[in-house]
Amino acid sequence: MRYSIFSLAAQALKGNRGWAPAWRDAAPKAEYDVVIVGGGGHGLATAHYLASRHGITNVAVVEKGYVGSGNVGRNTTIIRSNYLLPGNTPFYELSLKLWEGLEQDINFNAMVSQRGVLNLYHSDGQRDAYARRGNAMRLAGVDGELLDREQVRAMAPFLDFDNGRFPIQGGLLQRRGGTVRHDAVAWGYARAADQRGVDIIQNCEVTGITVQNGRVTGVDTTRGPIRAKKVALAAAGNSSRVAAMAGLRLPIESHVLQAFVSEGVKPLIDCVITFGVGHFYISQSDKGGLVFGGDIDMYNSYAQRGNLPTVEHVMEAGMAMWPGLGRLRTLRQWGGIMDMTMDGSPIIDHTPVQGLYLNCGWCYGGFKATPASGFCFAHLIARDEPHEVATLLRLDRFATGRLIDESGAGAQPNLH
């Protein structure tokens, strides 16, 4: 069924009893042209673009839990393309452009909201760094504006401008950045891919990757073996584990990141604001809850929950930026496992195994990348060559020294 104002009205008149499931709950077939491992945002987007842009529809997305159970349903929903380095900027800008047309493309309301992303600066040095980043963005055709203190005050008068240690001097604003309802992204891509014939197989864990004479031949799963001409890995926080099934060791550590939601309040903050001293970012959902987060917990983790010291650290950063937050109660909190690379940037590439493709290393910024990640990964799988905006996101860049290290933190994944 195509969703539209007419389908909504017709269903409303029938008491909303006629809605069909948005996608089929498929059982695995014996063989596919492409098996995608991981039914998160990136795996589902890859399936949609394989089917819609490349006509490859004999595809299965194999997900160990349910669609949306991974990071795609756990993130703080921020999208932006305010990157500095050439390897990242065109890729994230393509992603933002795809977000701008996504809802028409997949016929699903993902509540894409370009409410603006404002990064605060608190010192002369930080202003210069943001001016440089803003200039790099504009040179690459991305929108960016450097705001002074009074312009920031006009947008967000509630911030602590005269904090004794971290006075706010201004901010870098990307108006085209914003938020997207994350669950709807997973559901919308799942439905769009399903409508073109892709099988979305939930509760099916990949337990092995079969390789013969250096070429992938399929996967073993908890629901039996599946043969495949091509296998595409998009397992986010579990990337090292699935890659190890094909004998690969990745430049990745898995770390936990937490997110928090406050009780619902009336409209309070109409953009995304990030703190420039500690790591802290906040926005408000349409239900009224303030959605915020900060640093990762800093040590390797596969536990989808965080520890209290980081909770305290995030709250302290929030209070330093916006003291009024102390009047609110935190309602919910959870964690997700992220694939942190050694340079903080992602990988979309071939692997040494023929027919095995790798999509990983999204760190804590992979939600905004979802459309471009799927778009470029589908291009790579279908044509066996990288998409032009993803040519630098290579697996071998760590060996050749062509790193894409936005923060300059070096091979220390917990600092990116």
Partner: protein, 90 residues
């Protein structure tokens, strides 16, 4: 999470700084570039017991090798780093 420092006793993990995988070994100076690449960048990243460096930075400043399950954070062993390294197989 609490870490039992062999010098200071059972302490809150906030007193410690994390470095990462303690099983990788810096190759000899004349080792091929490939060995250096593996040492700097590649990790097993296990879901399960992980031997890792922690420094008691708000305590005795000792480097420790902690064996912790990355799925549960249960700590099964804590050793001072220097003897632990000598005893370990390279």
């Amino acid at each position: 999470m609490r870490i039992a420092c062999p010098h200071c006793g059972d302490r809150d993990s906030q007193e410690f700084t994390y470095l990462g995988d303690a099983t990788v070994r810096r190759p000899a100076a004349d080792a091929p570039a490939e060995a250096m690449f593996e040492y700097v960048y590649l990790r097993d990243n296990p879901a399960g017991p992980h031997r890792e460096y922690w420094r008691h930075s708000a305590g005795c400043h000792a480097w420790l090798v902690v064996t912790r399950d990355t799925r549960t954070h249960a700590i099964s062993d804590v050793q001072p780093a220097r003897p632990a390294r000598k005893g370990a197989v390279a």
